[in-house]
């Protein structure tokens, strides 16, 4: 009875983490497709991520309800819900960035294309490592630290690429209008925000892990 209940919540948590991972994959493919002018495919990806976001919200609510109703993990309940809620910010950010791309349709400058793809890849890697760290938090607490180091590494990489894009946009001569320079900066910042959100969760996870180590 007790273990059946545990199993159902365990699979909900696994599914939730899987969704964060999938969101990262969709995000990376979507941005790539945008920069390759495959706008129809990009729009499909945007719909996919919106669907995934609302599904994840549902799973999160279900986990929260079960944890409180069945009085599970009283000592770690707050931390687990805190983790799931901040992980939700990651998926929200991914969705929000894609919607902005879809609405604002930033110009694709060949001079910046590779940098944007590199930035997307670094940000998404930080999300992947965050999912590994979160999985480790539930099953193998000693492995959390290794993944967290990688989250911080990729966030730092994303920051560097973001700065590179901004310098190129403002210092280069290929973009004439200031508004378009600002637009490039805006999107570099948004994509990099995904890594920032991942790092915020990583910082929390660090504390939760110290609390959980017996």
């Amino acid at each position: 009875m007790l273990f059946n209940r545990a199993k159902s919540i365990e699979s909900s948590i696994d599914k939730y983490l899987e969704n964060i991972l999938t969101a990262g994959l969709i995000f990376e493919s979507g941005i790539k497709e945008y920069f390759e002018n495959k706008f129809e495919k990009f729009e499909e990806r945007t719909k996919e991520i919106q669907k995934l976001e609302s599904e994840s919200d549902e799973i999160r609510r279900e986990i929260k309800y079960k944890l409180y109703k069945e009085l599970l993990i009283p000592d770690a309940r707050g931390d687990v819900l805190g983790l799931l809620e901040t992980l939700d910010n990651v998926i929200d950010t991914a969705e929000m960035v894609m919607i902005r791309f879809s609405i604002e349709k930033p110009t694709i400058w060949p001079e910046l294309k590779d940098d944007f793809l590199e930035l997307t890849s670094a940000s998404v890697k930080s999300v992947f490592e965050l999912v590994s760290a979160s999985r480790a938090f539930f099953r193998e607490i000693t492995k959390v630290a290794d993944s967290l180091i990688q989250v911080h590494f990729w966030e730092h990489e994303a920051d560097k690429i973001e700065e590179r894009i901004m310098r190129k946009a403002f210092e280069g001569t290929f973009i004439a209008e200031l508004s378009q320079k600002v637009h490039m900066r805006y999107f570099a910042e948004r994509i990099s925000m995904l890594a920032d959100e991942a790092e915020d969760v990583a910082d929390r996870l660090d504390i939760y892990t110290i609390k959980r180590s017996i």
């Binding site: 007790l2 599970l72 959980r212 017996i214």
Partner: protein, 350 residues
């Protein structure tokens, strides 16, 4: 029968306070962290304390009997009363106190009052055990800590499943702890009455399946008093223990309860003692020890296992002070109350 109950009342009061305080040592962390509900804890505690008292209670009580064979019912009443009063006053004064130490002090007070010779061998055995029990508890906790850490590292159990397993483990350790508490500490509650009152009970046979002798019936009554203490007063203490004093995770709480239960059991089980002796192994003396000190010992053990950062030397100082202060105070109280009972109430106390 009514005279027996009147005279037993001081022991029953002691039992009640033991139930209120010491059950919290066993269940405090589990209930305080809300891993086990109070109702469940109180029910399991009462059943297992009774079983421990009736089945394995005689060993430690025998050692107390050696220290002072209190032969008069009024004497036994006064000794238990003196111990209960000492526990009550020391608790009020927020001093660390243990019923085991109070009752030994009170028996020594009776020895001094009645002019009986103190069995120094029994006394040294008891004092040695008091010093040894928290140390042993710490050692057991350190060993368990490393075993459980390595199991958790290798088995990769999901947090949620681990939660369920920890609850079951806490319940099992609590049941074992309650059994050991009943076995080891019933001597404090009823031990002094064994010589004077157990002869007044006739053996009760349950359909030829098993028989409860006088001592066991006495221990059963004492066990009931402890159980009443658990149900009526231990919840508050459990909440303090669980959420205040020891900052433990449910798993370390389990290790602490298991370690101190093992120690209490080692110093109470006749069966284990016989087994060790029959294999020519050193055995443990059957002596009532303090469950609080075993718990504190285990908590310190966890601190050492974690790298010694959480060690609080003040706690160690308080424990050592308790070894001296409690018996001395209880002996003094016993001497004075025996004098009053003998001279004011004209009762034969030895």
């Amino acid at each position: 029968m009514s005279t027996i109950i009147i005279f037993l009342s001081s022991g029953l009061f002691l039992g009640w306070s033991l139930g209120a305080n010491d059950a919290a040592n066993v269940w405090g962390t589990a209930v305080g962290t809300r891993m086990v509900s109070f109702k469940k804890a109180a029910l399991v505690a009462s059943i297992f304390i009774l079983l421990g008292a009736v089945i394995s209670g005689s060993g430690a009580s025998h050692t107390l009997g050696k220290l002072g064979a209190i032969n008069e019912l009024a004497g036994a009443f006064t000794v238990a009363l003196a111990a209960a009063l000492s526990v009550f006053w020391m608790t009020k004064a927020a001093l660390p106190v243990s019923t085991s130490q109070a009752i030994v002090g009170a028996i020594i007070g009776w020895n001094l009052f009645s002019g009986s010779v103190i069995d120094m061998k029994a006394l040294t055995k008891i004092l040695g055990t008091w010093i040894f029990s928290p140390i042993l508890s710490a050692v057991v906790a350190i060993i368990l800590y490393f075993i459980i850490s390595s199991i958790l590292k290798h088995w990769k159990i999901h947090l949620i499943r681990l939660d369920g397993m920890t609850r079951v483990a806490l319940l099992a350790a609590g049941a074992f702890g309650s059994y050991s508490l009943g076995a080891n500490n019933i001597a404090n509650v009823m031990g002094v009455f064994v010589h004077s009152a157990s002869g007044m009970f006739t053996d009760i046979s349950f359909g030829g399946l098993f028989t409860l002798n006088g001592v066991q019936q006495l221990f059963f009554i004492g066990g009931i008093a402890i159980a009443v203490g658990v149900f009526t007063y231990s919840k508050r203490v459990m909440m303090t223990v669980g959420s205040g004093i020891y900052e433990l995770t449910p798993i370390t709480a389990f290790i602490v309860v298991l370690s101190s239960s093992i120690v209490l059991f080692l110093f109470a089980s006749k069966g284990l003692q016989n087994l060790l002796i029959s294999h020519n192994l050193p055995s443990f003396p059957l002596v009532p020890v303090s469950s609080s000190q075993s718990i504190v010992g285990a908590v310190i053990g966890i601190g050492i296992a974690k790298g010694g950062k959480n060690l609080n030397l003040k706690v160690l100082g308080r424990i050592s002070a308790g070894w001296v202060a409690t018996p001395v105070i209880a002996a003094a109280v016993a001497f004075i109350t025996l004098f009053i009972v003998q001279n004011v109430f004209s009762q034969v106390v030895y």
